[in-house]
Each structure stands twice: as C-alpha cells, then as structure tokens.
C-alpha cells in the first residue's frame, strides 16, 4: 500500500525550505532597489509564484502525485484569473468613451 506512496527524501524537504527562505529574503531585498512601477509588482508576484510552486510541487507532493490533482489546483487559478481580468475590463475602462471602438 504505502509502498507505492512517494516518501520524499529529507534532503529535498530541507533544500526546498532553504530555497523558500532565500527567495523571501530576495523579495524583500529587491524592494530596496526601487524598481519602477509596474515592474516592481511583476518581480514581487513573480517571486511569490515561484515560492508557491515550490510549496505545491515539493511540500504538497504534486510533482510525484496523480496529475489530476495538479489540474484541479491549476483550474482554481484559471478561474481566479478569469474573475480578475474580466472585472478589470470594467473597472479600468470606465472612463473610456464608447466612440473609440
């Protein structure tokens, strides 16, 4: 039974945590650089995404797991993005007069 469950090596776990901590320091450090808008957001979110994928893949075992679980996880992000972008389609374009289309 649990023979076919993946037991993650201790080293992998520790390295992963180390990488996460380094990225945390990095994300704080880049704010000292004062990257101009909007790239600072891009960098901050980019780093957060890498961190989240590390947690999901290693700690949450998705890398070794049934791929369907990954699909389930990613689908939530897809629908979240749908929510964000379509709403922005309204909120960012309220003052744009209709004539331009």
């Amino acid at each position: 039974m649990s023979e076919n469950h993946h037991v993650v090596p201790l080293k992998t776990l520790l390295y992963n945590a180390g990488a996460l901590l380094v990225l945390t320091i990095l994300t704080v450090a880049v704010t000292w650089l004062h990257i101009p808008e909007p790239f600072n957001v891009v960098v901050a979110i980019g780093i957060a995404c890498i961190k989240a994928s590390l947690v999901a893949m290693i700690f949450m075992n998705l890398y070794w797991d049934n791929k369907f679980n990954t699909i389930v996880f990613l689908s939530s992000l897809v629908f979240f993005l749908v929510f964000v972008f379509i709403t922005l389609l309204d909120t960012l374009f309220r003052d744009v007069p209709f004539g331009i289309y």
């Binding site: 007069p97 209709f98 004539g99 289309y101």
Partner: protein, 313 residues
C-alpha cells in the same frame, strides 16, 4: 407592421427606438421559427413513433457528425448577427452627440429632480425639446436608482458615487412615462416621473417662463401637482389607505401622537415642520424614514402642499 409592433412594444418616442425594435422583432421571429420547428418535430415524432408494443426494438443510431456541425454552425451564424446588431445599436444608444442639450438629473428615494442649465429645476417632470438630442447627466443622493423611459427604449442606472449619462432624441412632442427600474425600497414603484417633449415654440417659451412657478395657479392645485411630483404619494395616500406614512386624508386638524409620547394638533405650523424637518417629531407607529424636502421645494410649493392637505377632508 406598426400595429404588430404595438402589441409587444410601447410607442416609439425616440429616434433610437426603431433600430431596437427591429432587432427585437428579428429575434422574436427567428426564435419563433426555431421553437415551431422543434415543437413540430417533437409532436410529429411522438405521434409517428408511439410505442405500439412493449417489446419494440429501436435502431441503434449513436451520432452523426454532420448533423452536430449543422446545428452548431447555424446558431453560431444567428448569434453573430444578433450580437453585432445589438452592439451597433448599443453604441449609438450610449454615444451622445456633442451638440446635445444637457440636463442634470438627481435621484433620491423616491423622487426625480431635473436641473436645467439655466439654473431652474423641476420635480417629477422633465421638459425636453423634441427633435433635438438631450443628454442627461445623472447622480443619486442615496441608493442606486435607474432612469428608464420605455417609449424611448432607454435606461441607465443612477448611482451614488459617480455620474452616469444617457441621451435620447424625442421624435415628436408628447408625454412619456419615466420609471425607476432599480429596486430602491418602499417607494420604488412610486418613483415615477414624466418626460414632456415640447415642440420648438413651446420649448422656447418654456425656457423663458416655465421654470418659474405659475403664480396664478390656485395653491391647492399646485399642491396636488407637487404631491405626485415630489413623490409624496410614494408614502402618503389621499384616500385613507395605510402606507409607509400616515394618510393625508383627514389629517389636518387631528390630534397627532408621537413616538416620545407627546401630542400636537396638525395645524399649518406642524405640517410645515413635518415637511421641512420630518425627524423632529415622529408620529407614533411609523418608521423615521421620511426624507427632508427642505431645499428642493419652493416656498409656494410648500404652501401649496399644506393647502392641499387641508382640503383633504
């Protein structure tokens, strides 16, 4: 065609209405044909292929790709037509011409106030020139309302924190009904108004004199007008039926009892106070919801209202 149209739709009061109507009829007719086709097929099959014995065997027909494509593509074409048509008309509906005559609209629970560039304002009656584009710049003082004129096929929500706009061009002089079509509470269905489109002469004349209150009109008649114009009728009846607020019938001269236990006689002063500062004394058994009308009614209108209430025995 015109009479056929009038079964479904109100009269066409604006230049934009015809395009909307044609699309409306197009969808109805196409839809009806589709529906008829489906219904006839169902009925025909049900009769033709009725079960005759319990051990009937049916053929194995699993699918047919050509059919699936046909009944995906035909609707696709139809919706593309409908979409672009609706889109184009919407574009005109919400792009006011630059020379439009501008009027400000203020919505509050539950009345409409119209302010004209010349400075005057009217309650519950919007005067516009016919055959000339009019642009409304609208704002709400409390919750969301919606300004709708079915005759003109226009509608737009009126929201508290920013201006929304709407434009139309009445194609002939006449009166059309205005509804509030966004639910706004007790008086929602009484939040009515009228648009009165005037021909050029009348419009010029109205611009000159209309904003001033007609000095000759008897006070009670003015009061009656204000009663609906300022939407007192949303909460007060004149025939004794209970509503949000007490009825006006027989109100004058009676002994009023208040939430704090005190009493007073409903005389002129009391009526004036009730209109201008409704929260000062709350009549027992009623919620403290009446909006103040100080500022939006002229002195003569207030007098008119009081006179009108006095006359309602």
């Amino acid at each position: 065609m015109e009479t056929f149209s009038e079964i479904f739709l109100p009269q066409r009061g604006s230049t934009g209405a015809a395009d909307v109507d044609t699309l409306f009829h197009f969808i109805h007719i196409t839809g009806f044909i589709l529906l008829a086709g489906i219904t006839i097929a169902i009925i025909y099959f049900c009769i033709k292929y009725r079960r005759k014995s319990d051990d009937e065997v049916t053929p194995i027909i699993t699918h047919n790709a050509n059919l699936e494509i046909t009944w995906s593509v035909i609707p696709l074409i139809l919706i593309l037509i409908v979409f672009s048509w609706g889109f184009r008309a919407y574009l005109t509906l919400y792009t006011p011409p630059s020379d439009a005559f501008e009027i400000n609209v203020t919505a509050r629970s539950w009345s409409w106030e119209f302010t004209y560039p010349e400075g005057g304002s009217s309650l519950g009656e919007l005067y516009v020139p016919a055959n000339r584009p009019v642009k409304l710049i609208m704002r709400s003082e409390d919750v969301i309302h919606s300004f709708a004129v079915p005759d003109y096929r226009v509608k737009m929500d009126v929201i508290p924190n920013r201006y929304t706009t709407l434009w139309f061009e009445a194609n002939e002089p006449g009166t059309s009904q205005v509804f509030c079509t966004e639910y706004c509470g007790t008086g929602h269905s009484a939040m009515l108004a009228e648009v009165i489109a005037l021909d050029e002469e009348e419009w010029e004349e109205w611009l000159e004199t209309g904003l001033e209150v007609d000095e000759d009109m008897p006070l009670a008649e003015l009061g009656e007008q204000t009663y609906t114009g300022a939407s007192c009728n949303a909460c007060h009846s004149v025939d004794g039926t209970p509503s949000v607020g007490p009825t006006f019938q027989g109100l004058y001269g009676t002994e009023r009892e208040f939430e704090d236990g005190t009493t007073a006689t409903a005389d002129e002063n009391y009526l004036r106070e009730s209109i201008l500062d409704p929260q000062a004394r709350i009549t027992a058994g009623y919620p403290p919801v009446m909006p103040t009308l100080a500022g939006s009614l002229s002195e003569r209108e207030i007098e008119g209202l009081i006179e009108y209430i006095k006359e309602l025995e």
